[in-house]
């Protein structure tokens, strides 16, 4: 207790020294002025937007500003005393380094708190100008204090080692800025180029700022906090170790100090890497609107995906893009971490994206795409629900226009009955025997046992395929004329694309092209013969050549299914009646292939019984004014109270023999 009291006395004395030092006062004033400048410069350049109203610019500059401030504080609070001898006098007064270092460090902490309090008007003013996520800003403010504390501990270690004010300031500020840059994206990218991602990541993990960007978005990582605490502990321990060693003679010091310092640095690095491994990306969302937390419905939709979907986020250029990247980047990263098996995430930075505003493109394995404009005006909750719907849409393809070419004569009862059933599922068009083109809106073409095809018809089908249209090809001739498939009407197409029809009885295609691998590359990587994907009738998926421009489905690659009649490609639960022949069998094939497949599927029932979106409370000017009206007087009141307490203490000292109860 007595020791704590003495440490507090050291702290209060040092605080008083700091508050009376013109250098410190000037530094605090400069800190506040710079904070205002970097915060409001974007506001002056841009209208009152969400971008301008968020103190991102301040958060960008804060680590550097803090590094310079704490270097100065360490210089004034320790190095100056070490150089002029006042610390030696204090040590001769029975103050050990375990009181002196923490005491003076505590004074530095209080001065950092003063600096951050001086900057709070920026927060208040920005809240007045537009909606500010107080959760995110508050989290950043709190972590900025912790960051300042960690940097101060580091600067104290430098001050104790160097012992000269100017050298301490220059060295500590330089080292801290370098350490900050180590965790920054620019240096990280450069290091990745030189050392590779692994060592670069490990080096970046040493920087206390590796998680600062996420923190400013309100996503507070356990590792980030632990890393700051580690730096704080390492800095203070090192300062005390060196200060204690300075009582010893140079020879004794040289015997153990270098090893101790290296050991301390090694311990810090080791614990940082351990924290990186153990805690990874464990983060909590401190934003007021939980903007860094994916909506439960979105997470559920992502986890329910049967096949991977790639989310490509393009932030767009300029400040707005930067802001969108910060806010959406963290959310999408968290979403991807929650559904790592089904989601891939690509973040395209700023100007490289080629879009004017933040855009999200979701692409499934069939390269079907849904593009969403992440307009901030639509509200984050609404946009999250739209992303969820997009994922569900990609998972359950839309009903597609199907065109059927068959040699079965129109009007055949089996075919008519089939068409009636298919029309119940979606738009289906039976092309006439003399068709010349494939209708423009066709998304799936079924060529089932066609009759003789003219050259223009073969050309039309081929063009459809080359343009990456989807098709199901049943190349045999209509029974009872069971001709050789290789010589049937589709033979030219099969030859053009080097498709070989599997021999009868084979469970696997013998298509002798690299596309054969796609058989096992179907979602989940399950071998087809062993376990055909549920709901998929046709097993062979063949992309046809490189993407080509093609009407409405130009972005959709071809998905061609070639079916050999003799093959038992019939999924479980469906069967082709043995002995069925002619039109009946053809109709049966078509139905078997189309109805349960992904090629013509009605969207499965989607559970959209989501909890209602929380209303996004965007603060009004009145709210901001109310907040300011409370915050500013409270700040003034606190400052006045502190000044009063200081004056009272001073008065008690002035009165000779003056006692306090």
């Amino acid at each position: 207790m007595r020791r704590r009291r003495r440490t507090m006395a050291v702290a209060m004395m040092a605080l008083r020294e700091g508050l009376l030092s013109p250098l410190v006062l000037m530094a605090l004033a400069t800190f506040a002025a710079l904070a205002g400048l970097v915060s409001f410069l974007p506001v002056l350049q841009a209208p009152q937007t969400a971008v301008a109203a968020h103190p991102f610019a301040l958060f960008e500059a804060l680590p550097t500003m803090m590094a310079v401030l704490v270097a100065l504080l360490a210089s004034v609070l320790w190095a100056r005393g070490a150089a002029d001898g006042t610390l030696a006098v204090a040590m001769a007064q029975g103050l050990g380094v375990r009181m002196l270092v923490p005491g003076r460090f505590s004074a530095g902490l209080m001065l950092i708190a003063v600096a951050l309090v001086l900057v709070t008007p920026v927060w208040i003013a920005l809240a007045w100008m537009g909606p500010v996520d107080h959760g995110a800003v508050g989290a950043a403010w709190a972590v900025a204090f912790l960051m300042g504390a960690a940097q101060l501990a580091f600067a104290f270690a430098v001050a104790v080692l160097v012992g000269r004010p100017i050298a301490t300031f220059v060295l500590a500020a330089s080292l801290l800025v370098a350490l900050n840059l180590l965790g920054g994206p620019t240096v990280q990218a450069a290091m990745e180029g030189v050392f590779g991602p692994g060592p670069a990541g490990a080096l970046a993990a040493l920087s206390p700022l590796s998680g600062w960007r996420a923190v400013t978005d309100g996503a507070l990582g356990a590792r980030d906090v632990l890393q700051l605490l580690l730096l704080l502990a390492a800095g203070l321990s090192l300062a005390m170790l060196v200060a204690d060693a300075q009582r010893e003679t140079a020879a004794a010091r040289a015997a153990h100090l270098p090893l101790s310092v290296l050991g301390m640095i090694g311990l810090y690095a080791g614990l940082c890497l351990l924290a990186l491994q153990a805690l990874g990306d464990t983060r909590s969302d401190l934003t007021a609107a939980r903007i860094a937390t994916p909506d439960p419905a979105l997470v559920a939709a992502a986890r329910a995906l049967g096949e991977p979907v790639t989310l490509r986020f393009a932030s767009g250029p300029g400040e707005a893009g930067q802001s969108a990247r910060r806010s959406w980047g963290e959310l999408l990263a968290r979403l991807q971490r929650k559904a790592p098996d089904t989601l891939r995430l690509e973040i395209v930075p700023g100007d490289a994206s080629g879009v004017s505003g933040p855009t999200l493109t979701a692409t499934n394995s069939l390269e079907e795409r849904v593009t969403l404009d992440l307009d901030p005006a639509r509200g984050r909750g609404t946009l999250q629900r739209q992303i969820a719907l997009a994922l569900l849409d990609l998972e359950a393809p839309r009903t597609r226009m199907v065109s059927i070419v068959t040699g079965v004569p129109a009007g055949t009862p089996a075919l008519e009955a089939l068409m009636a059933r298919l029309r119940g599922q979606g738009p289906v068009l039976l092309l006439p025997a003399d068709f010349a083109t494939i209708p423009e809106q066709t998304e799936v073409l079924v060529v089932a046992r066609p009759g003789p095809l003219t050259e223009p018809q073969v050309y039309a089908i081929d063009q459809f395929l080359l343009a990456r249209g989807r098709a199901v090809l049943v190349p045999g001739a209509p029974p009872p004329v069971a001709g050789d498939i290789a010589e049937g009407p589709l033979a030219p197409i099969l030859r053009t694309h080097d498709w070989q029809v599997p021999p009868p009885g084979s469970h696997r295609s013998t298509i002798a092209t690299p596309q054969q691998n796609l058989v096992t590359a179907w979602p989940g990587g399950r071998p087809l013969a062993a376990a055909p994907p549920a709901g998929l009738a046709a097993p062979v998926a063949l992309p046809v050549g490189p993407p080509r421009p093609h009407r409405a489905t130009s972005l959709v690659p071809a998905h061609v299914v070639v079916v050999a009649e003799a093959e038992p490609f019939v999924p479980a639960g469906l069967s082709v009646p043995a002995g069925a022949a002619g039109a009946d069998q053809t109709a049966q094939w078509i139905e078997t292939l189309l109805l349960p497949s992904a090629l013509m599927a009605a969207p499965p029932p989607v559970d959209t019984d989501w909890p209602p979106l929380e209303r996004k409370d965007e603060r009004t000017v009145q709210d901001a004014l109310l907040l300011s009206a409370i915050a500013v007087p409270a700040l003034v009141l606190a400052a006045g109270l502190a000044a009063h307490l200081l004056r009272r203490r001073r008065r008690s000292m002035i009165q000779p023999g003056g006692r306090r109860a």
């Binding site: 001898g85 030696a88 006098v89 001769a92």
Partner: protein, 261 residues
């Protein structure tokens, strides 16, 4: 009582202090004399616990300062050379917070600060920032801070440095008053202050105590040879002022005075 026993400080190959022994009894003021670099400040730093010796012990009122530094330092007041003080605090603030850092109670401390300021004639400058004080004022403040907890042992490093004659007279009076009942070790560069305040003198040269005697004995022993300054010069350099400088020192070494260990 301050006991310095066979203290050796060897920062590198050369010793700064070599088996130095010294005893300062209560009521004694031992003036530590020596040329620059002779080891005065190093000895004072060892005596006040700021520097750990490579060998030897320092005991303050029987407490080994290397074993229980805090307890030993609680009985010790230290005034550094040039009286370094935090420039921005006022005299009152400095004394008050120094007392608090010493662990003194607030109520008691108020009384001590007032009384100390009165005794050291600091009453008129209590609210003056320390960097505006004259040298003598700064030394008085340093002395007041060193005396705040009423220590038994005082270690003062050159308290007269840079003072004008009037200020020196004033400082002498202050030291005589406060050192009377304490064990006081004072490093001095000015010989003229020795007879005024010191009960004993110890001459340190090359990290060793070259001579130590009571002040009257020292003066008596050197009276025949001439001035005290000449005797001191002879003690620390081996040079007899009456002889040319190129004569070998060995022949000019004074007789060793009794070491008080």
């Amino acid at each position: 009582m301050l006991v310095i026993e066979r203290v050796t400080v060897r920062p590198r190959a050369r010793s700064v202090l070599s088996e130095v022994s010294l005893l300062v009894e209560p009521g004694e003021i031992v003036g530590l004399l020596g040329v620059a670099g002779s080891g005065k400040t190093a000895l004072l730093r060892v005596a006040s616990g700021l520097l750990e010796p490579d060998a030897g012990t320092v005991r303050v009122v029987g407490v080994d300062i290397q074993i229980d530094r805090a307890r030993a330092q609680s009985q010790l007041g230290y005034m550094a050379q040039n009286a370094p003080l935090p420039p921005d605090l006022s005299v009152r603030e400095y004394l008050w917070w120094t007392g608090r850092a010493r662990g003194l109670d607030r109520t008691d401390l108020d009384l001590r600060v007032s009384a100390g300021a009165k005794e050291l004639d600091l009453g008129s400058v209590l609210d003056v920032p320390l960097d505006r004080l004259a040298d003598v004022g700064r030394r008085r403040v340093s002395l007041a801070a060193a005396l705040l907890h009423d220590p038994v042992v005082l270690v003062l490093d050159d308290p007269f440095c840079g003072l004008d004659p009037v200020q020196k007279l004033s400082m002498r009076a202050v030291l005589r008053r406060f050192a009377a009942r304490r064990s006081t070790l004072v490093a001095m560069r000015s010989l003229e202050d020795v007879p005024a305040i010191c009960t004993h003198v110890a001459v340190i040269q090359g990290g060793r105590i070259a001579a130590a005697k009571t002040t009257p004995e020292a003066f008596a022993a050197t009276a025949a040879a001439g001035r005290f300054e000449d005797a001191f010069l002879k003690a620390v350099t081996g040079h007899d002022p009456g002889r040319p400088m190129d004569e070998p020192f060995d022949e000019a070494m004074p007789e060793q005075m009794e070491l008080r260990t």
